[in-house]
Amino acid sequence: MVMKDFGVTAICCTPSYFIHLIDRGEELGIDFRELPLRAGIFGAEPWTEGMRQYIEKQAGIKAYDIYGLSEIIGPGVASETETQDGLVIFEDHFYPEIVDPDTGKPVPDGQEGELVLTTLSKWAMPVIRYRTHDITAFITTPSGCGRTLRRVHRVTHRSDDMFIIRGVNVFPSQIEVALLSVEGTLPHYQIVLTREKGLDQIEVRVEVTPEIFKDTISALEGLQARISHSIERTLGLRAKVRLVEPNTIQRSEGKARRVLDQRNL
């Protein structure tokens, strides 16, 4: 409604939130294609070419990817241009390098590695060779838009186990803290990420152990609720908790694979 009243022409948010807005608009009988909206700048979480096509078709706009990190300035370190062929780094302010995450040595242009940033113009809190843990590569061909600043590919994964859900950075260890605070023991667990109607969903599967198993449905549902609240308190995110039978979470080399990302990023 606000977008309609003010004749909004551009929006900046997470792509999943915008898809949520499109769905909500549909429910309210608002067709985004009929609004004056022309462009969307989306970031703060990984998204796909498929999501871009969906957004552009459903909302009748151009959708651009923006990259940034809260340790530096938030969004605005790099952004796509009208040709949508990679993210142009704002090199006047940020000096980019791409290194091998294991050795820390720069990799040849075009090869994948970890993005390392140095701020050139920040005052109070500059960062020098800050390792972002974001994996990308320099694009070696010139941009269709004519800009000559260096460009990188869209970031889809990281060198550590952090994942981003609904714009929130999450480490599996935070889920462990939440689980530990509930029963005092750490059961085997797995984090499953899915995307339903464009919105990221997080499900935490917890193996039932003799220590946490209780004989009544109400006790088990209470356990589920306590885990769910504990996760929400720790992350500020609502997660679905599913109790599963022991030894049903896949383990490799004795260690469980903690995060199962089924979002097809």
Partner: protein, 146 residues
């Protein structure tokens, strides 16, 4: 006397129930009675077997999560008002019941109901004070030859 009941955690998915029943079948353990509680995601299978500790060991070895809970098997006259009379005692003594299910076999002219009380010892004492009979041994429920 309290009876040991086995409780198993099962996911709510096809074939989940077959896993423990097959393990018990292979071990030649007869199930005297059972109940299955279900939710959208999971279920709890409750079993009464002749030797609860042995069955627990076998199920756990096969990877199941098993709890032993003490329940009380109450004899209920098998006629109209039979259960109501027993529940009147339970209500009068303010005993808390978590759940109830029944034995498939009868004991003479009586039905047998399995009660899970929050305090089984107190329940036994008070039921006895009111002359309500409870099952003291499970042998009578075993069909000869099993």
């Amino acid at each position: 006397m309290k009876i040991q009941q086995l409780s198993l955690f099962l996911e709510n998915k096809p074939r989940a129930l077959r896993v423990p029943t097959r393990i018990l079948a292979e071990a030649g353990i007869s199930i005297l009675t059972m109940s299955l509680a279900d939710t959208e995601q999971f279920g709890i299978l409750r079993l009464i077997v002749p030797d609860a500790q042995r069955a627990k060991g076998i199920l756990e070895k096969a990877g199941a999560v098993v709890n032993v809970t003490e329940v009380v098997a109450v004899e209920v006259p098998d006629r109209a008002g039979g259960l109501d009379g027993v529940l009147a005692v339970i209500e009068k003594e303010s005993l808390n019941v978590e759940y109830v299910y029944s034995f498939t076999a009868r004991k003479g002219d009586r039905a047998v109901l399995v009660f899970r009380f929050d305090d089984p010892d107190k329940a036994l004492r008070l039921l006895a004070a009111h002359g309500v009979a409870v099952v003291t041994e499970l042998d009578g429920f075993l069909t000869p030859g099993t």
